[in-house]
């Protein structure tokens, strides 16, 4: 595949999110990427990543100010490849205990809750992640170890989504959900070594069918 035929990845800048790790992961996979400039690009990007570290309310507000929130919902309804990471995943839910009254995008049901203090908070470090269902539709299907850095999470997997779970103390929480081309990870795939890379590759494989139809942006790949 020549470079111009490589599908590109649109990266949303959610405020203070540290994007360098995500960018480095994409570049190790030899993928072209560009920062999303407007809501039109949210709809057009062959692949889209909503990363996120930081606080729920300001990140949500920024999506709204830039008019990206409705475009994200529209993109979801159009079933185009989307990857949400950490706070990005929480933003796709209905809201978070971290910011009562601030609505999430409601792409999947459920409100994020505090993990509780059975173990140190934030939950920072590596945990084993395992597919929720025996039949293991979640990709990758095998369990693995992933890196987390968060204090809030979805505690129950939304119906009709393939889920992977982990635990904080005795409390199970949702480590990732996936439905068709949308993957939302509470962990950081870009920091989760071989397992994280397997997640990224699985997501790209799932999305590759629709992405092949989109044309790359000319001259927008950044180093």
């Amino acid at each position: 595949m020549t470079q111009s035929e490589t599908p590109w990845v649109g990266l949303i800048r959610t405020g203070a999110a540290n994007l360098a790790s995500v960018i480095a992961a994409l570049e190790r996979l030899k993928l072209r990427w560009t920062f999303i400039q407007d809501s039109q690009q949210v709809l057009e990007a062959p692949f889209l990543i909503l990363p996120g570290v930081g606080a729920f309310a300001p990140a949500r507000q920024r999506l709204q100010e830039e008019g990206l929130d409705m475009a994200l919902v529209e993109r979801f309804l159009a079933d185009k490849p989307m990857l949400a990471i950490c706070l990005g995943m929480q933003l796709l839910s209905e809201g978070s205990e971290e910011a009562p009254g601030v609505p999430g995008l409601g792409i999947f049901p459920g409100t994020c809750r505090s993990l509780g203090s059975a173990e140190p908070l934030p939950n920072m470090g590596w945990k084993k992640v395992h597919p929720a269902a025996e039949e293991g539709k979640f990709l990758p299907r095998k369990p693995g170890w992933a890196y987390f850095a968060h204090s809030f999470a979805l505690l129950q997997a939304p119906e009709d989504w393939n889920a992977a779970l982990s635990e904080h103390g005795e409390t199970p929480f949702v480590a990732a959900v996936q439905r068709r081309q949308v993957l939302a990870c509470q962990f950081h795939p870009e920091l989760s070594g071989g397992y994280g890379e397997a997640c990224l590759k699985a997501w790209f494989r799932i999305g590759a069918g629709s992405a092949a139809e989109s044309k790359p942006l000319e001259g927008e790949a950044e180093a």
């Binding site: 203070a16 540290n18 360098a20 790790s21 480095a24 992961a25 570049e27 190790r28 570290v53 930081g54 606080a55 706070l87 203090s117 173990e119 140190p120 908070l121 934030p122 920072m124 470090g125 590596w126 945990k127 084993k128 693995g144 170890w145 890196y147 850095a149 968060h150 204090s151 635990e167 950081h188 870009e190 920091l191 989760s192 070594g193 071989g194 397992y195 994280g196 890379e197």
Partner: protein, 255 residues
């Protein structure tokens, strides 16, 4: 279940990894990106890079070093050393750090921790706490160990957590580079007053010392000399730890 993170530390001066005893008598220990990639392949759970450059030129070089390390690293990277203000943190995070560690600047202005946590999220903000034992407790050291403060280290740890620190890198100045083992009493004392993760640092030479740190409440153990100078692999440490019943992330097919 919580697993113990193994964190090789790269002290970087003017673009090279160095290692000394009690932050003195620095010896060259290799290229940072090459070291980081090697430790990652061995199963390191995270890399800490501390800039110990003495000059502005050295500090600028460290940004390039962070970028180079980031390119090859698919695991978390914490960067510290000489971080004075919010803009320094932003530069390190932009260059590829996932977390930034602050010591002196936070002691001089604890509000910096709050400002950093508000802007970047507390999971990005590590309090680097260098401690020296004194009768009846520990005091905080700043300026790479060159200055003693009158601050009680345990009290400061609790205060820093309230101010916004999301993790504490707890270094025993007395043990650093000596191989005498982590200061377990210090670890236990800080564990009692904070709920954020603690990275034990200073004095590691053996697996038993790492297991003891875990039992004393450490979420992660940091080491430098045993990797750079003694040639121990992360993999061999982890398999010994696992054998002894300490939960660690098993080695996977690396990147």
């Amino acid at each position: 279940m919580k697993s113990l993170r193994i964190i090789p530390c790269l002290d970087v001066r003017d673009g090279r990894v160095v290692k000394g005893i009690r932050f003195q008598n620095l010896r060259d220990a290799g290229d940072p990106a090459a070291c980081a990639a090697r430790y990652q392949a061995q199963g390191a759970d995270e890399i800490v890079l501390l800039d110990v450059s003495a000059t502005p030129e050295g500090r600028n070089a460290s940004l390039k070093t962070v970028q180079a390390v980031r390119r090859c690293l698919g695991i978390p990277l914490t960067v510290g050393g000489g971080l004075r203000k919010e803009a320094d943190a932003a530069r390190y995070l932009e260059a590829g750090a996932d977390k930034v560690a602050v010591n002196t600047a936070a002691v001089e202005n604890p509000g910096l921790l709050t400002a950093l946590a508000d802007r970047f999220g507390r999971q990005c903000i590590v309090l680097s706490l260098d401690c020296a034992q004194r009768p009846g407790g520990w005091v905080v050291k700043t300026h790479s160990g060159k200055k003693d403060t009158e601050w009680d280290a345990v009290v400061w740890a609790a205060r820093a957590e309230r101010a916004g620190a999301g993790e504490i890198l707890l270094t025993s100045w007395d043990r650093d580079g000596t191989g005498q083992g982590y200061d377990l009493a210090l670890l236990q004392a800080v564990r009692q007053v904070v709920s954020v993760p603690i990275v034990a640092s200073g004095g590691a030479r053996t697996v038993a010392q790492m297991a003891a740190a875990f039992e004393a409440g450490a979420d992660a153990v940091l080491a430098a000399s045993i990797f750079h100078l003694e040639g121990r692999t992360v993999q061999s440490l982890k398999s010994e730890l696992a054998h002894g019943g300490i939960p660690v992330r098993p080695l996977e097919n690396a990147l």
